[in-house]
């Protein structure tokens, strides 16, 4: 029989094939362990079955959980996901996207924390190229206008956290954030200040969004002197974990002496002692939503994902006020 008929039964073509043929083809395929070559399919169809995911660091559970959500969607849809690591380096990111374009991906998802600024001219050109090749661009957070954006209410979540802490009796705060211009960090800091009180009791320290940066920043703050009863807000749980280490090294008791709160609510934040106050983000759902945005024909921007403050032992209620 002809190649054409075989092809028709093996890929889910709409055309129907007589059962006798269909059966013969299926048996033969099974016997020979035949699997369609997806590269060839891609060249023939002119459209690949790949979703490209960009993360800052795959070893970071924050991105790992998002990736899990993306991959759940891809699995359901029979698509393949390739992952690349930007290391939070814009130039590297640009190179990666250019290389990724060679895959003619169905979609590219930016999960890496990008900066507030619009993409550089170079990046924008690459994104346009992705789109004109038929791919969807998806971003977590705004900033990329040519992308479908999954929005997270960072500001609202941080505001709620600030309010809750204020109500728990705290009146002075140190914020550990990223350098100005990092969108997520900026939003969280702004929201926190709104909620905690514009009175000006808030000192902001800026460093990276990694564990070691958190440790470093906290140590620096301690060097400058942090009075008892202050609450430290790290814009990320990972940063908070670093701060926790610095506080311990300095012999400060977290909770009773200095309070500590993070953001993201990654699993590790529940394991530390005292358990870390944080703001829960539905990361897995976000990954899944990003996948849908990458593949759905019809799509309308969903409501920003709601966040939830989780008060834990690291920020006990202050008796004195």
């Amino acid at each position: 029989m002809s190649l054409a008929t075989a092809s028709r039964v093996l890929n889910g073509s709409s055309r129907t094939v007589a059962d006798s043929y269909r059966e013969r083809v299926e048996n033969a395929a099974a016997e020979l362990g035949y699997t369609a070559n997806i590269s060839a399919q891609a060249t023939a169809k002119g459209t690949s079955s790949t979703i490209a995911l960009l993360v800052a660091d795959i070893a970071d559970p924050y991105f790992g959980i998002i990736a899990a959500g993306v991959m759940r969607g891809a699995d359901e849809a029979g698509l393949v996901v390739t992952i690349s690591v930007t290391e939070r380096d814009d130039e590297r990111e640009l190179r990666l996207v250019r290389a990724l374009r060679g895959q003619r991906p169905r979609g590219v998802i930016f999960a890496a924390s990008r900066t507030t600024e619009v993409p550089s001219g170079g990046l924008q050109r690459e994104l346009d190229a992705v789109i004109s090749a038929g791919g969807q661009v998806v971003a977590l957070g705004p900033g990329i206008t040519s992308a479908r954006s999954i929005l997270i209410d960072n500001r609202g979540g941080a505001r709620a956290l600030g309010e809750a802490l204020k109500q728990n009796g705290y009146d002075a705060a140190v914020v550990l954030g990223a350098p100005e211009g990092t969108y997520t960090s900026d939003e969280r800091i702004a929201g926190f200040i709104e909620g905690f009180g514009e009175a000006g009791q808030v000192a902001v320290l800026r460093d990276g969004l990694t564990r070691v940066a958190g440790e470093r920043a906290m140590a620096r703050a301690l060097g400058d002197g942090v009075p008892r009863g202050t609450v430290v807000f790290a814009v990320t749980d990972v940063v908070a974990l670093g701060a926790l280490t610095a506080l311990r090294n300095a012999g400060r008791a977290v909770g009773s002496d200095i309070a500590l709160a993070g953001f993201d609510d990654i699993p590790a934040s529940r394991d530390v002692t005292p358990a870390l106050t944080s703001v829960r983000i539905p990361l897995e759902d976000i990954g899944y939503a990003a996948f849908r945005a990458a593949v759905d024909d019809e799509w309308s921007a969903p409501e920003p994902m709601a966040l939830e403050v989780r008060l834990r032992a690291s920020t006990p209620r202050r008796s004195g006020g």
Copy 2:
């Protein structure tokens, strides 16, 4: 000029091209934002530029860090890595490998904790197919004979841990492991018993290798009664973290009352209080080694990776003995 010359300059062909042509091609490519279609390249060359990585759970930092190592290698070599999640389900794994074969991957890396048993007939057939399509199969741990194996001295590490704990004055232990047949778990349990003493002071409880399984198993053990001064050895840090939760819920003081040790030394184990005793595995290096095994022409099995016991506050030295 001809397509052929263009092709020769764009892909790193060995053939040389006159500089005037080369320049013209490069300029044109840059101007048009042209990027070679790697699917088409793959069909033409008959060999793809993909490495397929299989992990049990990408949200688990253990696998995340391994993935980071694999991706570092792939990045250096200009290869793409696709990740799939087995969820520790053999049937699912089989389906995944079959689907992955369609990519004609240059290599497939099994990082997912596999069982002791040889692969099922079905899986073995798929692996043979991968190999006869020119792909390398790489496995973390033994069991897959047709694969290049990256070996970890789980047994030796666990033995060293057992010895160290014994010397610290412990003489009764509870082990939290996976069901019999899970290779890594079995090795670690056996090693621990060798080191801690064959006297028979060791009770083994078996459940899954997840956090919730650890919590469940520990709760069960506590229900049966665990005397003061016992050390609990969880075959995985993730399991130990679950156990830690159960111990806290039961009001038992970790360290002074019951000691706790894990394995893998994931970052989270240093953040908990008391810090968790564990056995360090160079996960990132292992990922990188797995990548090399997948792509190098010449390869000889390296020495098993050496592990290192990290004694921390969760297993203090017992004064009484």
